[in-house]
Point group: C3
Chain length 331, copies 3
């Protein structure tokens, strides 16, 4: 991250915020309320940090109007202070721009097409037929297999694997260890002779503004494609099975697994360690809390759960014993 | 995938299928019932796609005899249409053959033995004492550490890590991000001084016809070896602990974790996000549904479960409260 | 692993063990009780292997005094035989020392500082500003991004990714596929326009003697750092969210996910497939059994659980039905 400097007046004007304080004060970096020093800008969005707000050394704080009176520093006021903070942080700490060009140690197929403004890092492998758009960053150790296409301004941070014919949109971010388009898990049982592989011939199509966390895997489709729509955000170590589709702006937390052919709607929020069976339909605007098992379609928006919070182990086992006695009753 | 063309007569003869239709019709590719165009061959194995069958534009459909009357196209009839489809797809879409040879950018140890028919891709690392069999494909970015052995016709698709002395059989497929033979999780507690590492000196032995999904990890044994038998199929992001053994033709879905020294029988089917404790014995022919916790050995074949499906969050929390009241009763 | 030879007298003296047997007997390798041959040394720490002890061909066995009478071989006696065994295995099977130097195929930034005693393997990438300490091993395919610092005697076994400004202590071991310091999962919702990325600007600080298993991910902090203290042991495929802190000597088993800003105490033992919500505080000396959901802080030491063991599927569904009827009662 590079660091730049803005006056509070510039930030207020740029993001449409109300400023209470000196517009000529300047900030160089974001900071937590607790550890901020002069030159830092912080945000207040959680009531339990009120004491930190009252004692902060930040030059400015982004917060809602109703908390402005508590703020000992300049206040930038917005009804959604976390969102305003995100935008300010984005301009104060812009992503470093990599110089265009292809590192000497990268291996590039003869028929690959790489935009002149793109950057391809050391030890990368770009196979034949790959298409890399303007200002794309292909970090060290990335592998792009035949026919993969990467849209403008997308960043593959390091060691990302993009398999054959996968299409990634614009302004996406894929983190290290991500694998897009490996074979789905498809086998037909031939009795005692075991499993026969079902060829996995589809691709993966990823929209614009998608972010995919470290070591997450998205399998290619069996016949047709696996689809991740615009604005989807996937955390680390998520597994997306073949022919899954995920609607716009859905966010999924880490360690969740989505089985094949399940279709998830738009604007869903899915917690961590959720397990979802295959061939389900999840409506738009569904929230699923962490550690839930989803074994049937969810056809209406709403919030769904099935995890049971832990208790002391002895107490827990008493409950499990009771649960089993219950199930043993005559029905 | 390369594409080739077959007549229906050739396919019927090759796979022992009954053909109802013109044996000279030709197909070039598989397709879903819904999206098939002329030249496509599809399959019907799930009653809920009956309308798609009746309207399909496919040139031919693989299905069971009892559904042949519904089929508007040529019919290839088999009691297990999905299996017959898998075989046909395999011949219509064969895996591309990579030209033999070692890419200039690969680093190969002086004492490594690589069959002349094998293909070693760019940026690969083959350490000393590695043995690579006939027609093996070592994809870009793969790392084979000292003494690893890879059997004939096995494919390491890309960025696979095979640690020291690991043995992989013939016709296996290992997907990107797979790590075979990293240290198991073994430590002895030295009171307040913390953990002392227990050296992990075993290897991993993988049989023939094993497929291992993206980012799955199989740890080396502590003293003796971790063993994956012939025909085992592991999905993505599975964790196999040290000294686990998995019997022939067992299939495990994604995100499941098997703790150390557990022994799993033959022909088991284990769902996704299953957690299995260590030192257990799981019989042959056990089925475990997704999201189950296995904390004791399962000595008889059969189907086992413990996940509770999600409900609306408010309703769910009422149940949890009731469950706790129940456990609080006098026993 | 290299192998060396010790006499029982030397081992007893070095580790303060009582020897019952000939001090001049020599051992070259560890072995299980069941498969040991002469020259092998084994341990007995689990009563169910008593028959194997009584029949062992090992030259020596490490065990507790109360079992010495059962031992047909020389006995090395310690109240914690598994710990004594771990230490003996460490000297019999020391980690191979890699010759210092930088492989020709590695790419090293002009301003990187690499100790002369360090070893950098093939296809590694060391960016500008990286600092690599004495005797560090950077295995094949590792990527160290700008400003990363690696303490003395640490081993990155292969294909480890260490992102910007991450600090790793001394004597750590990071296994293949590990990703340290990728962006945390931070987004602010901008209504129907979707998610706005919150820049992730913190680093990760890892103490000394930390081991991190294959494909585990530790995210960088949002503003301040994610912290892993001395002696922490993380198994494979664990996810550690941004701004988590983990206290000294805590051990976590595979497939567990810890959400952002949660603080875990010292000397905790956390099982596999545990899901932990964000912003929690877990006390020192907490034990959490596998497959538990932790959605509230645990402020006292003790053991906590919430997984329910699997049963036969039909029986299980009867219980789930009963559970739901229960929740439906008037309250």
């Amino acid at each position: 991250m590079q660091t730049v400097e803005y006056s509070l007046g510039e930030l207020a004007a740029r993001f449409g915020l109300e400023l209470r304080g000196d517009p000529d004060l300047r900030v160089q970096r974001v900071a937590t309320l607790h550890h901020a020093a002069p030159g830092g800008i912080s945000f207040f969005a959680n009531a339990r940090y009120r004491k930190h707000l009252e004692a902060t050394q930040a030059t400015a704080v982004v917060l809602a109007a109703e908390h402005a009176a508590l703020c000992p520093a300049a206040a930038l006021i917005d009804p959604n202070p976390y969102l305003a903070y995100a935008r300010i942080a984005g301009v104060l700490h812009p992503t470093a721009v990599s110089p265009p060009g292809i590192h000497d140690s990268a291996v590039v197929g003869a028929s690959a097409r790489i935009a002149a403004s793109a950057s391809v890092g050391p030890q990368a492998v770009i196979e034949d037929g790959v298409d890399i758009g303007e200002r794309v960053f292909v970090g060290p150790g990335c592998i792009l297999q035949q026919g993969a296409r990467i849209g403008a301004d997308t960043r593959l941070t390091a060691r990302v694997t993009v398999c054959r014919n996968v299409e990634v949109g614009e302004r996406c971010i894929l983190h290290p260890g991500v694998v897009i388009g490996a074979d789905g898990f498809g086998f037909a049982l031939d009795g005692a002779r075991g499993w026969v592989k079902v060829p996995q011939m589809g691709a993966v199509r990823i929209g614009n503004d998608v972010e995919i966390g470290a070591n997450t895997t998205v399998d290619c489709g069996a016949i047709e494609d696996t689809v991740i729509e615009n604005g989807v955000k996937l955390d680390n170590q998520i597994q997306i099975g073949h022919n899954v589709s995920i609607g716009e702006h859905t966010a999924i937390a880490s360690c969740t697994g989505i089985s094949g052919s399940t279709s998830i709607g738009k604007r869903c929020m899915i917690g961590g360690l959720v397990g979802m069976a295959g061939h389900l339909t999840i409506a738009d605007d569904v929230v699923i809390t962490g550690f839930s098992m989803i074994s049937a379609s969810l056809k209406r928006p709403g919030s769904y759960s099935s995890g049971i919070p832990a208790e002391e182990t002895k107490q827990w086992w008493r409950r499990v014993a009771q649960f089993r006695r219950l199930g043993a009753r005559k029905e």
